[in-house]
Amino acid sequence: MNASTNGFSVIGKPLPKPDAVSKVTGRAIYADDMLPPRTLHCRILRSPHPHARIVSIDTSAARRMPGVRAVITGADLPIKFGILPVTQDERALEHEKVRYVGDPIAAVAAVDEEIAAAACDAISVEYVVLEPVMSIDEALAEPKDERIQDYGGPNNIHKLVALEFGDVDGGFARADHVREDLFFFQGNTHLPMEQHSAVATFVDGRVTLWSSTQVVHYVHRALAKVLELPMNRIRVIGATHGGGFGGKTDPFAHEIIVCKLAMLTGRPVKCTLTREEVFYAHRGRHPVLMWVRTGVTKEGLITAMHFRTALDGGAYGSYGVASTFYTGALQTVTYDIPAYRFEGCRVFTNKPPCGPKRGHGTPQPRFAMELHLEKIAHDIGIDPVDLKQRNFVKPMTRTVNWLRVTSCGLDECTERVMNASKYRQREKRRGHGMGFAISSYMSGAGTAIYWNDMPHSEVQIKVDRGGVTAYCGAMDIGQGSDSVLAAIVAEELGIQAADVRLVTADTDTTPIDLGSYSSRVTFMAGNAAIQAARKMRGMLVEAAAAKMGSAADAVAVGAGRIGEFSFEEASILAEARFGTLTSAGSYTPPKIAGPYKGSGVGPSPAYSFSACVVDLDADPRTGLIRLNKVWIAHDVGRAINPLLVEGQVEGGVYMGLGEALMEEQAFRKGLHKWPSMLEYKSPTFLDMPEVETFIVETVDPEGPYGAKEAGQGPLLPVPPAVSAAVFDALGVWVDEVPVTPEKIVEALRRKEKGEPARFGPSRFPAIPYPACIKVEPPPKELDRAAPASI
């Protein structure tokens, strides 16, 4: 642990989470732990076909079954919804057409789950089965029957993006060396330990939903739309959360369904997805095929880059438009690319929709770009680490695509992992390898999902006879956002974190926070909390100063005291002086998006940076990999709680290793190949190597006490570092994730036969990208006095 506590009493301390005791004693109440009196259980009938028209749905037999209280179909919930305003393409229940195996068709509420399941079996649906579209190539071709969605196009293309920044052709023309490569990143899923669960009640004309969601506000909006109720008639509460990783960031059908069933039956209704249903609910990592072309000088400086992506999106929009932009947005945040062309394409296929998973749209291009630069370094005879370092972005600059980089710890992160791993002195023997990679991620998106000028996070504080309560819509999904709120309020008020009561993620009682996605909570709710707490502190200090007969700036705050008074005494003085003691703070990100269409994806008030070294042994006979150790350094700006930052970094490394080596969401004829936790391989205790974590603190100028994100960035460098280490060990490239033993063995076989020593995609399809929107790059240097200005 190497975080600083300089000048702070709470910030920087490795404090336990506020709910740690309830979690270790089994008393934390997750959504499925709730069973209000008279609860009905809901099961959902789902499509067995990947692509079909629904001719008829007969629910009469199900309705007659004893114990069944309600059966609903798409006719009961016809209004479409979706997380992005531009892709409102989902229905809670589909009555016209199904687009993937698992698409919901009908739902039953019954007195127990077995009856509900039996009633689902008793519903008969007549389909006209359509030819499924199962790959990027098939989606680009003329459909055999009909398109999956009735928007987008041509064929089953969902979204096309083409942007060009600076003089790309000129950049390639002045390059001494130009290289092209192809990469593929297979899709994978979040696999939260907790299956999605939701419980709804309808009492006194108001719907209340408890759900394992990452985004109570967006669920609130979707419910209002589909149920046709004003938002003030709906309350969404985030139950204790059993893991998200992006997988609970869309509003889901089952959340809407239980509300509708509660309204119809007048009883509480609960729906918990089975593990198999969780695999089909998905919204996970997009499979992405990538082509990249880069020009460099003979010193290894990048002159231009051209990056193409093709995303297999699954059947619905989800976050897909944003995901598409993200596959091209952050390449420029780690490396100084003076001219950059990005062409992206997302297609619809008859598979569960893909969406955001930890790193949202950026681990795929990160994998491609890190390996691509390794190969360029080998081509021109420069050490790959040197080549990368020569191109690192500098703090307080703007990228060619108008992203504002403030603090940047890339050099320090690299130095830390290089020194600790002794990468440069590594043992060179066949079968042993080390790989290095870097990355960056956003501390929250600079723009909201739906366009508005309101704050992205708000915090209220109430002080009442010494008791402090902080209210915020932020949802703690295990990452520790509650800890951050408590630490900040305690720091500002001079009390202990454990003295702060928290009320979070409840749309009735807490002011808004947009939710736990895009690594935004520490930065945004943290800044809102500082503002609210400083206002409260001002009132306490003013009251204490008046009583002391001294100036406010002479009143010391800390160690549970406000000037001469205990915190409780000061709060009584302040309440007598001002009345009810409440304060509020909010955070709105600076308007820093560039002047072009599509510039809303990528800007963030600050970026985190990571560097990683993986040490492994790879058996040249079997291709089996044994991980020896991972070193990772993460520039978190400032660690508000270093224990939790380490936990996020280690968890990110773990998830990155799972994606790099084994996790795979693959389908056969529309069916998931392995929708179970046994067959969908994820790393166990035995698979995880030791991880040595270094926290780097660059103190961001706009972060709360300088803090930036930690939840997503540290995953990103891991897959390319693994593949680079395999090359170091065996001299073959696996340009595809996951890096499995059979791919390694096949690459070795090709090498022996004198073919290119690699395993990976061999072609990039012809995609009808439109002409690029050409964008003039911004001035490179940032105005240090006013970094928020464009």
Partner: protein, 180 residues
Amino acid sequence: MAREVDRQVVALEVNGERAELLLPVHKTLLEVLREDMQLTGTKHGCELGECGTCTVLVDGKPELSCLLLPVQLEGRSITTIEGMASGSQLHPLQQAFVELGAAQCGYCTPGILLAAKSLLESDGHPTRDAIREALAGNLCRCTGYSKILDAIELAADRIKSSSPPAGEVARSAGGGATSA
């Protein structure tokens, strides 16, 4: 369509407390603990015996409650996470998990704590690899396992070096093999 369900009165001893329940014979221990006994500290991740989340102790040994039927368990001593602390005194493993941030979302935590308790009762000072081996059936998606390993090692150290009072807490808190 009425269903024919065999029911049976089953006497279960959970966390040292005896309860008689009329249960459908096919109902799993996991379901009975959560739905009939309100012991919702036992979580579920797959209900197929794949993830380890629903681990409880039966006569002190870790078992997957989603694969057990209560009718098999009469006369056996069952410990769930609710029976791990001694009153409000946390078990040293629970205390170490709190201090070291070994629970993030906390959903896999009850199962891992119980499996670790069983391990430490049979091997007071396991190596890191022995801990990995013992817990290989328990998946966690948040922590990367590092902080869990650290916490189990810390708890083992504390149990070993503790003065008798804390040691008694450790031994008496379980209600597993040693409970009467």
